[in-house]
């Protein structure tokens, strides 16, 4: 595939090829509809986790598929389609968050990613909580949402991909554009923050 694309690039046919690809799909959009139907809801969840806005998440799903559609010729047939789409979605979401932050004039906006949070680890002992009982309370749900919102967008994305989508570290690192070690650290940091934030809640319920 790379060799084929080199031939195209050497011939200076990049933009022409893009138009042809789009035009070809217009003749048979059903194929791309399958991809949209398979991944639309999953990408929405990921974008929502990152932006915490339903409207933004929906716009980002559209943006993700638009970018994917336009750059289809760069997709490696041997690559993982889901990971490729997640990567586009993460990049689109990060672009959006940066723009939103700049537009709002947030000089000290929440960092998109953090290498180290520097918050002292809390110690918590005691029996395991009962999540089913905890989830009954609206107040508890709000606390959980608040704890999630306190994570950086990349940490929330890593959490979603690992704990909801059940992706491997290799897939998560590809989706986030991080080395595998950094992807693991991002997941662990997010879990540590959640645990600290929800510790009082767990103690109270225990």
């Amino acid at each position: 595939m790379k060799r084929m694309m080199q031939v195209l690039d050497q011939a200076g046919a990049g933009p022409v090829a893009d138009d042809r690809i789009v035009a070809r799909e217009l003749e048979d959009p059903e194929a791309f509809r399958n991809v949209v139907e398979t991944y639309g809801q999953r990408l929405f969840r990921l974008a929502y986790r990152m932006t915490t806005s339903t409207q933004d998440a929906e716009d980002l799903v559209q943006e993700t598929f638009l970018r994917a559609y336009k750059s289809r010729h760069r997709f490696e047939a041997r690559a993982n389609l889901a990971t490729w789409l997640y990567r586009i979605c993460v990049n689109a979401s990060l672009d959006h968050i940066r723009r939103r932050s700049q537009a709002a004039g947030h000089g000290a906006a929440q960092p998109i990613d953090e290498s180290e949070d520097g918050i002292a680890e809390e110690r918590l002992a005691g029996p395991a909580p009962t999540p089913e009982r905890l989830l009954l309370s609206r107040e508890v749900r709000e606390q959980i949402a608040g704890a999630m919102a306190a994570l950086s967008p990349v940490e929330r994305a890593a959490f979603e991909l690992r704990h909801c989508e059940q992706l491997s570290i290799q897939e998560i690192s590809a989706a986030l554009g991080l080395r595998q070690g950094a992807a693991k650290n991002t997941i662990f940091r997010g879990v540590r923050k959640l645990r600290r934030a929800l510790a009082p809640l767990v103690e109270e319920q225990a």
Partner: protein
């Protein structure tokens, strides 16, 4: 014995614990409780309901793609597509008229013994095969039930799939060869799908095929191939191939 740290509990709660961490948790009640608590926090957060998009998200996405993707060179494209179709159709028709037995026959297999000599024709055969595969996979996506027509179609493609895969591999086109290898199980399952199988099995087959993204991959490779064919001085290569 040294107790586990916060990062260890995060690793365990994320299903990424090492043997040493697991062994410690098995023998230390205090750490076991904290690991269970971390796992509970993760479950709570992962299980929290998220808002759903407004109904019809997929339709809106496709509509936007159609609206934004309409190129200004539409008429030029149609001309190019017609010309390419004529070239492919001509090559396929001539190929089918060539007797299969002589060693010089322009079949995909011939390029196995003469790599490069029939590359042009191999690519045309591959493009034709991918076009038909796209059509089959699209029909499959919309078929409510198996049909002899679909199964016969899959059996036809299956018969040539491995041969074309071998030709592509011999030409050094690893991406196409890999794609055809990936497509084979789908063709095999469809060709041999039992008419008596319950409907859930049919739906499960369609879901597996959709989730694999194979149709999308076929289109990507086919488009690249079509572009490559269109960039080559077709008359000369085609004549030498035929």
């Amino acid at each position: 014995m040294k107790h586990l740290q916060e990062n260890d509990f995060a690793a365990l709660a994320s299903g990424l614990g090492h043997d040493a961490q697991l062994e410690h948790v098995a023998s230390c009640a205090a750490c076991r409780d904290r690991a269970a608590e971390a796992a509970s926090v993760v479950r709570m957060c992962a299980g929290m309901d998220l808002p759903r998009p407004r109904p019809g998200l997929e339709d809106r996405v496709v509509a936007r793609l159609l609206a934004q993707g309409r190129p200004s060179r539409w008429c030029a494209w149609q001309g190019w597509a017609a010309a390419a179709a004529m070239v492919v159709l001509g090559a396929v028709l001539i190929q089918r008229r060539v007797p299969p037995s002589p060693p010089s026959a322009a079949t995909p297999a011939a390029s196995l013994t003469h790599p490069g000599a029939n590359r042009g024709l191999t690519q045309l055969a591959l493009a034709d095969h991918l076009d038909r595969s796209q059509a089959l996979l699209t029909a499959l996506a919309h078929a409510d039930a198996p049909s002899p027509r679909l199964q016969g179609w899959a059996a036809d493609l299956l018969a040539s799939n491995r041969l074309i895969e071998a030709s592509a591999r011999a030409d050094g086109d690893a991406a196409s060869a890999q794609l055809l290898a990936e497509m084979e199980p789908t063709l095999l399952q469809l060709a041999h799908f039992s008419d008596d199988a319950p409907e859930p099995q049919w739906r499960a087959l369609k879901r597996r095929v959709a989730a694999s993204g194979i149709l999308f991959k076929v289109q990507v490779v086919d488009e690249t191939l079509q572009n490559q064919i269109s960039l080559r001085p077709q008359g000369k290569n085609l004549e030498s191939s035929l």
